[in-house]
Symmetry: D4
Subunit: 172 residues, 8 copies
């Protein structure tokens, strides 16, 4: 099964954050390719990757980076595909720098930015993009939402049953 | 031609910002529907709109809002479609509040956020999402990129010809 | 005793923060109902809850949420009751995102916002609102204030007795 | 008609901001008293005002201030009544200082904070607080909400009629 | 020896921060009085303290507070004495709220603000203020500075002797 | 009359801000010396000025600067006198950079920082420092406070007389 | 004379900011080349420019960009030459986004960042870098500093002559 | 071998951060001198150091400081050499204060600022500056870049080999 979503990151230290995106795609049965591609340390490989991705059948690219975080925007400038950016939390500025560097793109080259550190949502967004043309996948998205809703309802029932003090005690 | 992109905003005061998204879709020949839907003043109409959009053939929703800016996230929670959020600049906080309210969505419900006030990029992102399954549209995206590039090159030539001092003088 | 204050939160992970509100209401003898209601994962249940609250005798709603934090504002848009918002601290932005998303509501739909993470004050505010029409409760608020004052005075006396160095040593 | 809502501000330069609160109360037929009381320049008058307000029949206090903005919090510490704080926009920090000074109150003394510069919402919140015990006023709040909703709908109809380009041209 | 410097704080939880001010005054032989006085929980005691301080021989007041941090500014409004404000670090906003609430005072009522958490400097500033009229104390300030300088020189010598790698190893 | 307060600034573009400090000192009859001394463009003159000020009879130094704003802190490191820092508003960061550069001094070298752009308060603080040892000046400070208070009361009376709508109309 | 300093910017709208860098180089007799090169709209031309610059005799590159501002960092990743970054002020965030995107580079690829909007300093830094190996240029830098110092002294003399009130009146 | 790069810091507590700069210079075979020089505690030694550095053969100065962080800018004002500033992370503001104090220098006196806490990049920038006139050193910079690139490639290969789940498990 050829990968439909490319998930790239600037450093292997971003992998613990980015695994959320990979896991979600797997959960929805979407084949991915995962790569460490640094805008600053492997700029030419990045150019090559970004320019060829749509030719290899990739439909959406998810790019995570922290600090100056140029990877998502640079890849977006080199591909016609939609690029989803994940601001990886940074050490001193907690990801505000990553967020600004990724979201504040100039007119002409958008990056679809998700919350700081929230790679899971990047994966879901990729799924939703693919689902715009796959009725079955759209159904799965709705089932997923149903599951989210039921999980909240289950907690609510437990809370009613236990009362808030007991509930708090049994929380991890 | 049935609309493929729904472009909604919390108030008509957001329209000067949001027109960039409408214009780009038109430029790419994508039919849109434009609506003023307030998360706070017409919450039930918002629920109805968001829940039915995919059934009416809408593929992508672009939602702009400022300040507390709940519209994009609430619509995203009610539709399986990808939702693009435009943080409209706010009076006192210049759109930092709008940005945080739109981008910092919890796991499960992503909003594809673009730069503060940059509705044009929201339109382009919608086009790119549609283009993932329309080869012709993908070509148009690449031609658009080519035009951006040529426009920079034309400015560079003019700069070389005039020198920077003359160039500055003829700028508007 | 029918509940007068509805205390809701977007996730059970908000409960450790929100218990301060519940405890204060109990301390003042005010009956509460506690519920996990997510603006994003159970949007329709939220609509239902918010629209019916005042019909069931609820007088004040306290809503806590973190990050994009749409719950307080959305509930406020659906009920005529006063809504108190508690910005729950977020992981990367420490609750600045929660605060902006809750407090920066547009004209027409206020949320009475308290300090980041300070659910206790949300509870007290609910009590004070109820006390505007219950002379006895107003007395209790004043006694509570008296207790706060006495607690400061007791510490001051202890500080004078021990000196600051001994005082510091016996602090937990 | 004895005033039910006290509307105070630190300086007459806050009056252009604070008039929104006065106007809303008038619109709902709520009698108000308006006063310039500075926490820093008339501290003792502030103490007197705050301590006696509930004895004179005041049910809610709205306090606006900018910069260090101590007025709402200090009044709150001296009265058992609910105090609504309006962060008045400041010259250099646009009201972020006002917001933090008003909302970040310590446990025990809440201030119900509204958006920066949004005194209208402070007025509405006062009305909603009074309405918790006046069924007729609660009805009025719901009618007001209905009006907000209709005003959005009217704009939507006009937008559909004119198209967005004509709509933009006729905007003021 | 009658105290010349009043060192007050809003809560005993500020004492670990504020002890730096007490210790410095002691080091310079300046008698102090230390008190827990809360602007919000003991407002009237604060008024009394602030109004009488200069009559009891106090020359400078040091006030520390966190969050909304009204104590320094309110005391400053009630005394003709110079008031030094110490922004105590807050839990979620790290003291930015405390800093803004203390430093952004309106024209007419200054608070001499020092760095977040830096009560030691508040003590030194109090000493320097007293030294403007005590030649001997001014000498002590200069000797203190000399000591600071020598301590840096000693570290530099040790660094030259050990080299930076050894120096790092012996650091605590 | 030998000057008691040195008022210095990094550039003549700071003079419109700093004149507030000069005017207040004049109002209280305190002789000042005013100088343009740049930490970065005339560093050696700054060293000389700071080291000799107390020998020439100066008791307090007020230093204003914007952006990196090193002048107040550097002067403080070179004089035993109390130094008051005025953060001059900067073009892009509105004085947040100036504030941080001035207030966040390391342990050992305090700068008494006032609000962004509030040189008037720097002048008042200098007066209050001098007043710690001049009973007559302390009286003047109290009279000044009385005037502030009366000015607020006069506005309040006018507001009561005119009503808020008329008051707003006659405001400049 | 072959250019030694390459001055590039992402858009011709950055030229009014960047002219300061060009003018300073001219003032010091350093030949420059000026180019509009967009990281996002002409990414491949950027790669080519950055990779070849040192081969064409360029010694230092100055790059200005606003918002996501990837140009300086991307060029730095592709050249062994020192790259100086100028954060161009952005519309909504005043250049904080530009600053973070430029300065927060990962280990391995530095960008020498100057103040927001301060292209003049970028030019001076380029001159200082070249001067590390040209004694004559180092002399010019020192003369330039001397001129800065004299300009401050001239203003000081004028201030002493006119007094601050007259000085303010004759300011532009 | 006479040192070419002076590496200075305001306190020995900055050494753990600053060692990155020393190590990089050593790696490239550049002789350094390391010194603890405080702008505030040893201002005169700082003046002496900065004024004489270029006479002793130093070509570049790297200065690290935290908080008010005046060292880099003050040294820059006293030397014609390029000065590289390292914002050392501060306790409460995480280095935002250090960054602003270092980067926001006025026109005339640049400081080449690197990322918060990123002394390694300061060292690399110094090497690149020296390399502008040493072909061999320029080669080394390019080899270093090659190594960075290869290190990324090696991680990518390992990732492909192990898969992301195994890769995560073997991460430290």
């Amino acid at each position: 099964m050829a990968p439909l979503v490319g998930i790239i990151m600037g450093s292997d230290s971003d992998l613990p954050t980015m695994q959320g995106a990979i896991a979600v795609c797997e959960e929805f049965g979407i084949a991915t390719e995962v790569a460490i591609i640094s805008a600053h340390r492997t700029p030419e490989r990045m150019v090559e990757y970004a320019k060829s991705a749509h030719q290899r059948g990739i439909k959406v690219i998810i790019a995570g980076a922290g600090g100056a975080a140029h990877l998502p925007g640079m890849v977006a400038s080199l591909t016609p595909l939609p690029v989803i950016g994940v601001p990886v939390p940074s050490r001193h500025l907690q990801g505000v720098d990553s967020l600004y560097s990724i979201v504040q793109m100039p007119a002409g080259i958008p990056v679809a930015t998700v919350a700081i550190g929230n790679a899971k949502n990047a994966g879901l967004l990729a799924v939703q993009i693919l689902a715009t043309h796959q009725a079955e996948l759209l159904n799965k998205v709705q089932q997923y939402r149903q599951t989210l809703s039921e999980s909240v309802m289950a907690k609510q029932e437990k809370l009613e049953e236990l009362g808030y003090e007991q509930y708090l005690k049994q929380m991890p």
